[in-house]
Amino acid sequence: MSAATTNTATRRPFIKSRAMRRFLSNKMALVGLAMVLSLTVACFLGPHLLPYDELFIDLRARFAPPGTGAHIFGTDPLGRDIAARLFHAGQISMAVGFAVMLIATTIGSVVGVVSGYYGGVVSAVLMRIVDAFLSFPSVFLLLALAAFIQPGPVMIALIISATSWMEVARIVDSEVKSLRNQDFVQAAHMLGLSGRWIMFRELLPNAIGPIIVAATLTVARAILLEAYISFLGYGIQPPLPSWGNMLNGAQQYLASAPWLAIVPGVAITIAVTGFNLIGDGLRDALDSRSQGH
């Protein structure tokens, strides 16, 4: 339709295939992908294979160590099966992670593209707000928010998003500012396209690489933050399990039942490492500037 459309049409498959090849030849990224995939499969298939429900309480089987009968990861202080809770918690924690990715990336992209496109006062105001949000430790702000809301998975995803959109906004802002004066944008202006069209149909698609990278890293960050606030008791509330709240009471049983702490922590670490490795691999694959580092 416009110069921009042909531009992307000729460029995209080329970049896509080369980036894809670069990503697939990155061993670390593949390890990350394998970690995330196997964990996802375990969390969604696992509950169907286990004989226990994640809420089934068996007071005779309290504190069973891993490997007792069919309790592969042992049981918790109420005799609930940890494996069943772990997999169910994984579904919730990862769903929160993906929800945050969608919400935070959307907010960040909109703020960033508006700031980058209009520049001037608009940009100055928006970026100062970004700076202000970044100068709180996000855990502080998150806890202050979490202490006063009804903490369900949806609310938790929303407040984590509220403290996770700034990075994307900054990245998109600087990306759009560097694209703004390029020929295809001038062409779009001359064709009389609206500002909204130029921002969301021309500029944003061309900044998609860094956005995808930031989005992947946001999933990792969100899973970690959920674990932090749920561990401190302000996140997702039992009996609904999350990886964070499974660790909530673990400290007091550290001497007698260490598996309560070890099992969920390993799951969090695998998930977060996986997403971080994928994000790193995507950055190397999509961003030619970061090659060689």
Partner: protein, 316 residues
Amino acid sequence: MLRYILSRIGQSLLLLLIVSFIGFAVLTLAPGGPLSQFALSPGMTQEQIDKIATQMGLDRPVVVQYLDWFRHMLIGDWGTSYRDGQSVLHVIGSHLFATLLLMGTATVISVSLGSAIGIFSALRRGSVFDYTTMLAAMVALSIPTFWFGLIAIYIFSLNLGWLPAGNMYTVGDGSVLDYLRHLIMPAGVLALVDVAIWSRYMRSSTLNVINQDFVRTARAKGLTRRRVLFKHIVGNSLVPMITLAGLQLPMVLGGALVTETVFTWPGMGRLFLDSLGYSDYPVVMGLLMASAMLVLIGNLAADLAVALIDPRIRLD
């Protein structure tokens, strides 16, 4: 230079204004609040609660409350704690040292260890050491700090019995050695994430420097490898790291909050959680401001330090 410093201070003050606004909005507009505790107790009537609200000034419009709080904050009166009636500044001040001690020690550990690992990885790029440390750094970045703390307590306190599992000192002891024994584990745990970040950035910063002309010149004029490394490479790779140290401050502070909880360390993080539990808004608000100030001062100091060290950067 002076003009730059003044304009940066001006910007920081503006940011603090926005921060105070966001913080106050979050705390006052959220449901619940300090009065919700009274509402739970069965003996309380609505009139009594209203009376308390009037006494505490909570029945006024939010904007009036904010302006009132802001005016007092400017002259150094950050309000009094709902919990024990002490002044907020005093409460925060009495917890500041513990947090700074923890953060300072962690920073020293992460900067020295992280830079060493990063430089070494860059010099041996593509080696087994490089791959192992970079993978380890990735895992370290992904471990929840509090969980690493739990595991450390399990190993070093419960199983080996080498280190105390919590608190800042033993009551009745309080010698330097005693402080150190309590400090090692939380500081090491807090440092872990930062060691990872530092080694990753230091590695790419060193890789950048290695390929610069002045390094080639230094080699060409016959300096020994060691001299080139320490005089030309290390120094120049460290410059961007100063900015990074400033930018990392919010993360270290956030990490300190969680670490302090696990190790019952009497710092600002513990205070923050306790105050949230008691709906002690003046203290929570004070802590949000104090942490933002700490971060802004750290960033400003980092930028100034870079400008002083690196003659290529002009501040105007």
